[in-house]
Symmetry: C2
Amino acid sequence: MTDQVIAGTDLSRLRELNSLTVVRALRDQPPTTVTELANVTGLSRPAVDVIAQGLVSSGWATVVEPGGSSTVGRPARRYRFRATAGHVIGVDVGAHKILVLLADLDGNVVQTSRCAVAADADPAERLAALDQILAQSLQESGKSPADIWAVTVGVTGPVDASGRTTLFTPLPGWRTVDLAAHLSDRFTCPIIVENDCKLAALAERWQGTARDANDIVFLLAGMRLGAGLIIDGVLRRGYGGAAGEIGALKAVRWLTAPSHLEKCPGVPATVNPDDAAAWVFNAARAGNRDARTAVNRYVKDLAIGTAALVLALDPQVVVYGGGFSRSADLVLEPLHRELQKLCLRVPDVRASTLGADSVALGALRLALNEVDQRLFTMGLSAPVAPRRD
Amino acid sequence: MTDQVIAGTDLSRLRELNSLTVVRALRDQPPTTVTELANVTGLSRPAVDVIAQGLVSSGWATVVEPGGSSTVGRPARRYRFRATAGHVIGVDVGAHKILVLLADLDGNVVQTSRCAVAADADPAERLAALDQILAQSLQESGKSPADIWAVTVGVTGPVDASGRTTLFTPLPGWRTVDLAAHLSDRFTCPIIVENDCKLAALAERWQGTARDANDIVFLLAGMRLGAGLIIDGVLRRGYGGAAGEIGALKAVRWLTAPSHLEKCPGVPATVNPDDAAAWVFNAARAGNRDARTAVNRYVKDLAIGTAALVLALDPQVVVYGGGFSRSADLVLEPLHRELQKLCLRVPDVRASTLGADSVALGALRLALNEVDQRLFTMGLSAPVAPRRD
């Protein structure tokens, strides 16, 4: 018997706490031996042995049997966190598309589903499309709603504490939508709604180009421009959830920046307005003078709002992300040059490596944070007890 | 004997740690009884008794004898942190003046010294004036440099990690000045140089109008406009010390805002350019039409840069501070109105209650933080051992 009975402490609660300590030591780590776990947790080797076997039976850990390559003594068995104990879903509800990522607890994406939505779709249509794509994601991955431990959905516009975009959203009629309430009909797990730019910033620090940085200005560049801020390693939501909305200020030119692309002379009438920017970037690459002028004007306007954020916050890194990051080859260098003219100290300027998937990826990261937070503050029974496959 | 000998722990080190625990429990608290201290620290009552008496002998605590008013039993004696164990100095080196505040460890100002400096004074003149006013402050308060545990100096312009204003400063020739090195000839304690706007923001949260807030945009308003940001309760310095410098961006109009006051028609030729703004504010109060127009234009330009910060950060409070806060009666309400037009969510807009002293007060706060940080991470011998009066 390795647990100690301490006056006033319930024995089963103590076992639970010790198990949680071992789960925490396994989480986000490579496979670990009992000896290593004992060192890290301060628990005795025999206690860890019992706990680790218990975590395997209850589905929180798996055994990694040693390979046969060791020549000195018998190699130790290792334990690893069982990432498939639960799953999370990250969603990007955009103007033109809905993207759903379903991932295990290590953030490995096991299912990707995507559908187009009309930009002028009303809330009922958009919610119906969301429901359908979520159902498809669950079905194709062989999961039921009860297998999902957290859902995060990214939307455009500042998100208030109730998960609504009451201040502003370009999605038609979306101001009054209560997305968390809508989804709670299907899911019993926590549901978080968050601003798309903020989620994309999280993704860039998690898996993208800003993994080394704690002070990040992220630009979500498309036919609209938005920003997500990470300050001292923490996502800045703002007192009312409206941080990063500098684009609303006419003086910093983000409202007009993309229109230089849209209005570029020579865009063929057959090109859909949503694809005009891609046409202009391609034409600029091919040397078209009007297209080059349009890109230059776009970058000059982009630089004003970016400089406002850089001067305000003095970040380490600016990340140019979103759909337009596919054309970063035309934007990064002139943007950097403009910032040198406008700013006192110029940060690194980098292109997103995650592109248009960054919002859904950031949604996964926030969902995983929610799972870990519940797990490590509330205990192993908090998210959902894992089941054996 | 109340200390326990624990294997591998040096007994005197354990005593020091227990003493530090009691000092921490006394710091920033009202006078406290041994019983209360025992409850807070988890040490035994007899142990706390011995430690508290030791802290009195060594100068860290004083005894507050009970008054005679209690009718039930013998009232307990109380101990309190001895704030005069050490002192700190906060300095504001401005374009026109130097202000020195000398305070005890509770932040009670015991000496204020002030002198005028010419705006065009070269670094040698400004440093000579600083040396003289520091000498005067020490002399009039009966202190020697060894009595001072930390010095913080506020200067204009972003301050880098070495304490210099290499990126920009309006003080003539000041870019190359190494103020910390200069002052270390006189003081052996830590010397911190920090940007004036950042210090004023700290002061406003410590003793001013933003004591209830963790998310603050502070405006230092005078013939130049600057900003200090407090985010999630932490002063934002920026990756290179240059946060809050949004005023450098022409598009947000802070570079031109004060010029509307300076160039207001009707300012008498006899009025010094530095006093023109005060004349205009007074004239506007008296109903002068040109002065009212100038103030309106000033506020409209002030609002653009302020809106950029509000939209970027979504703070709880905007504080209008600095020298011009004397005229907040003319500025606050129209500023709020402009922000309502420009921002998605409008924060509280408040006038500073500290005015032109806020920079030096914030410098005191930063010096006190430095003392506490050294004390509680390095031990009672770290700052300077206190001496009996």
